[in-house]
Amino acid sequence: KQMMVREALNSALDEEMAADPRIFLMGEEVGEYQGAYKVSKGLLHKYGPDRVVDTPITEAGFTGLATGAAYYGLRPVLEFMTFNFAMQAIDHLINSAAKTHYMSGGNISVPIVFRGPNGAALGVGAQHSQCYAPWYGSVPGLKVVAPYSSEDARGLLKAAIRDPDPVVFLENELLYGESFRVSEEVLDPNFTLPIGKAKIEKEGTDVTITAFSRMVGYALKAAETLAKEDINAEVINIRSIRPLDRSSINASVRKTNRLVTVEEGFPQHGVGAEICASVVEEIFEYLDAPVERITGADVPMPYAANLERMALPQVEDIVRAAKRVCYKSISMAAAV
């Protein structure tokens, strides 16, 4: 069966809300408008305004509010229209949600999910395009996941909602409308995916490519191209930014001896940097070539279509980097 990511998220929300009355959905336009991206379609009708709560445009306020409700034992699912707007509320995610279980010596737990689209959409400019995976992923006390496919979306969202800790759930606007094959197992109401585990999307032997969210699709396309040139790439869908599944990555690199990391966000202090550092620390001796990072360009996101394309990783960038690590041929940097 084919299922869109939007449906996968919607069905996960629906099933979890049906199963546990402590769960409520809150955010801007989640109710009457059916969600800015229609992820919550039909839920207001089904669960009523007490459990599907439209908020004013006051991110700091409603994030604090939802976090307080989680202290009390409810299980809020908080939608940010995009994660860019969560910056207004980031103090609550970090200081009120992530750190409280620790600071209270376990007295208070914070079972809450923060979800919404993260990273670049198309043509939305610098203020609406940032990827927050590295920031949230750096904070102990948070769990951070980033689904790619419908299977990921369903399995990880259900896991996140059932999890007793604060989970940051990073969606991608451009994936909402993408369809993926899903198995019967995935459709089961009890289906969940383990937080903290990566998925080998495609096995391979020559080079490991790590990616998350939309970039997994790009990595898979790159792998197809590479296959034509007899390079058998292994593609790892990271799925969980924190905890990071270091052992799966290590296992893959032990086999391929080569690593390319892919992400849409800014390069410095990114997920790729962490993966590279982690591999170097743990299995340095297995690396036959320098690790390569493919990332968003180190500039605010431009609006113009040609510049925007240059600012985001493209399949050919991944292909090029993979070839480089396989052949160890370092091309000249082109100046623009």
Binding site: T58, I294, A297, A304, L307
Partner: protein, 363 residues
Amino acid sequence: DSTATITVETSLPFTSHNVDPPSRSVETSPMELMTFFKDMTEMRRMEIAADSLYKAKLIRGFCHLYDGQEAVAVGMEAAITKKDCIITAYRDHCIFLGRGGTLVESFAELMGRRDGCSRGKGGSMHFYKKESGFYGGHGIVGAQVPLGIGLAFAQKYKKEDYVTFAMYGDGAANQGQLFEALNMAALWDLPAILVCENNHYGMGTAEWRAAKSPAYYKRGDYVPGLRVDGMDVFAVKQACAFAKQHALKNGPIILEMDTYRYHGHSMSDPGSTYRTRDEISGVRQERDPVERIRSLILAHNIATEAELKDIEKENRKVVDEAIAKAKESPMPDPSELFTNVYVKGFGVEAYGADRKELRATLP
């Protein structure tokens, strides 16, 4: 005599909070009336054209149109100078035009071209024109309000007799940073006017679903406020002139402009799920800011119906020409990816997606 004084009455009295309201009688002239008509119809034409360009996929991403709200932009400009500052949110095309921006710069920006006011790098939500006192074009709801208070802070710091108009929507009116900024503006007597463009919806949320007290002109509590018919360009002009004087003497004041957007929130919103078509057509028929001026011009025999139609025809031509010109403008040069990151880039290297393939020295 196109400069003869005509006195018109605002559509409604001002409702005020902690301040004596200005008079309902507004002085104007045939020339001003004609300018208002021309400016508002041109703005409207621009937005309608942007709608088409969006549908033709020449404009991408978010695009928020201003048609219906033109009287606010035009009336405000009539009361102030380009030394006064304006800052607004993402619904910024017509504010930019009002500040003296051109149609070509607008359309080129909307299409991401080199001749855009932000050189194609900002897009619909990020128009600026600092040299005429326009500070953007901001995409984060509420953020422009403290920024605007900061402009007023700078005006006062430099001992200039100018003021800043910080514009925001009814949805933004609940943002905490607005209350923080207002407190500082009042504490320090900053020459700031908060202009709440109440178009009664924040995206799909009606004002009363988002605010316990949708009387936005009163939301400053200890800061005075006026409710203004934002569909009446003369009420807007009167209120803005009054507010400027007030702000220079007494510090901040809030103007709530009762207005309406005809389009959906952005181009991805049909704008008809959370309000009725009757509501929209009712406003169009009874309160349209352009039609109000048309009637006034005709009533005062300043121009004929045909002459006004000619102006609108001319707008169409001017807009089409601007679009044609904007389309001729090339995409930004690829090297622009790395310009304007910093004023002073120290000549360090910055990276593209594949840093071994694309890197540049920052200027």
